[in-house]
């Protein structure tokens, strides 16, 4: 629905945004982008400093920012390039363990932390390259199963490796909580800018073309394997980076933090924000983050409510209102007419 709307209004004034684009020189656009990022950082920092965002929530903000990085990386692979991956948590684990090992075995200074995060990202990206070459030949559900298996292999490999090296199922600990708000924020900002710049280039258009129609894309000279692997490597690189930040956020890492459910959580952020929509991924991470905060008081029924909320959110987002119309009739809620219902199915 939203798509249709923008087109109807976008048609007649097609020339306008283009002219605007031409008037603004690239350095100015870049400067404005940078100013927005610094501005958002300043505002958030101010809110934390004045304790409008309490220490508890400020801590939670870091996790939301890390989830944004994960979501953006997966969105590039699944949303933009159309390659359904369920192994994202596995690549996150590679980054997390690499960073933990680097921090544990060095002085733990800022340089070694940042170096560890970078090394984790690079290793995750390399692994992405290595497994992407054979698996990205697969399509749709086959690729989903293959990446699912891959994620599990990484987790089980970590669990069963010598405890002295990777800590086994008990995991690794003994390093400080080193992820600061600055690291998480600028990590997310860098990821966003990279994915956005990629998307708005010939390479990004090739990615979308591969998602839209592989046969047509290939006939136009797009090397399918190369484009898919490129998207996969960039996406897994950022998964590794997020993993490193996650290590410093938790202070302890265990294999079970990177299981299949974590991949699903990331996928949820992407789907909630809209496949291929990078702004949506940011919103999706924030919404799911807030939902989780509110659910923390519910303890035992938390997962049930969370799952139920996801079903409802997805139903609302998909635009299929039949369930809600039925619900309204069943309980005779005459007064309950949310906007999305009246707009989409004409219920008054």
């Amino acid at each position: 629905m939203e798509k249709l709307h923008t087109n109807q209004t976008g048609g007649p004034v097609a020339g306008a945004p283009e002219n605007a684009k031409k008037k603004m020189p690239p350095w100015l656009a870049g400067l404005i982008g940078l100013a927005v990022i610094v501005g958002v950082y300043g505002i958030l920092k101010l809110l934390i400093w004045t304790e409008v965002i309490s220490i508890y929530y400020a801590d939670y903000l870091n996790l939301i920012l890390i989830n944004m990085i994960l979501g953006l990386g997966l969105n590039l692979i699944t949303g933009i390039t159309g390659q359904f991956s369920l192994g994202h948590a596995g690549f996150m684990a590679v980054g997390a363990y690499t960073t933990a090992l680097v921090v544990l075995n060095t002085s733990g200074s800022l340089v070694s932390i940042l170096g560890g995060i970078l090394l984790g990202a690079v290793l995750a990206g390399l692994l992405g390259l290595l497994v992407g070459i054979p698996t990205l030949r697969l399509k749709g559900d086959y690729l989903a199963i293959a990446t699912l298996g891959l994620g599990e292999i990484i987790r089980i490999f970590i669990t069963n490796t010598d405890q002295k090296v990777l800590g086994g199922s008990a995991g690794l600990s003994g390093f400080p909580i080193f992820t600061t708000f600055e690291m998480a924020f600028f990590g997310a900002a860098i990821t966003f800018v990279v994915v956005r710049n990629l998307l708005k280039s010939s390479y990004g258009r090739a990615c979308v073309a591969v998602r839209e129609d592989e046969i047509a894309a290939e006939s136009m000279g797009v090397n399918l394997a190369k484009v898919k692997i490129m998207a996969f490597v960039v996406g897994t690189f950022f998964a590794g980076m997020a993993g490193g930040l996650f290590t410093g956020y938790m202070g302890i890492i265990q294999p079970k933090s990177f299981d299949f459910m974590k991949s699903i959580d990331i996928l949820m952020i992407v789907v909630l924000g809209g496949l291929g929509n990078i702004w949506g991924t940011l919103v999706g991470a924030i919404v799911l983050g807030i939902v989780n905060i509110f659910l923390q008081d519910l303890s035992s029924v938390r997962m049930i409510v969370y799952a139920l909320l996801l079903v409802i959110i997805m139903l609302v987002k998909s635009g299929d209102t039949r369930f809600f119309v039925w619900l309204r009739k069943l309980f005779n809620w005459k007064k309950w007419t949310p906007a999305f219902l009246s707009k989409k199915s004409g219920v008054k």
Partner: protein, 259 residues
């Protein structure tokens, strides 16, 4: 000197011979027609020439503008595209959720010079080439009459314009040989006439060799300089439109043999 030379081309799917012993040559700058009843193997030949299918046997040879010969049989589609072959599809295959302009720009992707890192860090080469790409793309859109719809989604174009956009996208690759698979399908007579004019003007402007499959005989006979007729996977006739119209085997293939 043919730009494209096909010798003894065969393609079998299991026990079915879809294309058998096809010999075709295409002259540079020619507008060639490929006709035949449904299921004769026309689209299969297109798929073989553009790399979608791998030939069972046979040679497909492309002569570049520099006179060098390349055997393109069995190459992947993106490689044949790099050698200057491009196409449209019988059932339109546009990138539907992309804008009209972006569809054209995807066609140009194979000519991109800046690297991924240059795009991410927005180095000068990125801006330089993007603006040149956009200029060229807008020019192509102007020629096919879609410039005013550059920012619309491809899916929202009416059918006839989707066909035109597909042709424009094929040209945007910088191809020298273009395959059009039923470009006039589903068009009314006036749209068909307009399309014929467009194909001729595009051919002249971009110095193209065009090979097209079409069932609209008036369209084919009026447009093509030479025609191959295909039936049951073999070439049954070749010649100019007049010769084809009066060829007994062709009439038999279309109308059936006398009882």
């Amino acid at each position: 000197m043919p730009i494209l030379n096909v010798e003894n081309l065969n393609k079998s799917f299991g026990g079915l011979k879809a294309v058998s012993d096809v010999n075709i040559y295409v002259k540079r700058g020619e507008l060639l027609g490929l006709i035949g009843p449904n299921g004769a193997g026309k689209t299969t030949i297109f798929n073989l020439l553009t790399g979608v299918y791998v030939p069972t046997t046979g040679v497909i040879e492309l002569t570049g503008s520099d006179g060098r010969k390349v055997k393109i049989g069995g190459m992947k589609p993106y490689m044949t595209a790099r050698h200057g072959l491009s196409r449209t599809f019988q059932n339109i295959r546009l990138f539907k959720s992309m804008t009209v302009l972006d569809n054209i720009l995807v066609g140009m992707h194979k000519n991109v010079k800046y690297t991924l890192l240059e795009a991410i860090f927005r180095l000068p080469r990125y801006y330089k080439q993007e603006s040149r790409f956009e200029e060229q793309a807008m020019h192509i859109l102007e020629v096919v009459g879609l410039a005013h719809k550059a920012q619309e989604l491809a899916a929202n174009l009416p059918y006839g314009e989707q066909r035109k956009l597909e042709i424009a996208r094929a040209i945007a690759t910088g191809a020298s040989v273009i395959f059009l698979d039923e470009p006039a399908a589903g068009m009314n007579p006036s749209e068909t006439d307009e399309l014929a004019g467009l194909i001729v003007s595009l051919k002249d402007e971009y110095d193209l060799t065009i090979i097209l499959i079409e069932h609209d005989m008036k369209f084919v006979m009026g447009l093509c300089e030479r025609i191959y007729v295909l039936d049951f996977g073999t070439i049954i006739a070749e010649g100019n439109p007049d010769e084809i119209k009066h060829n007994q085997r062709v009439i038999q293939a279309y109308l059936g043999e006398e009882a």
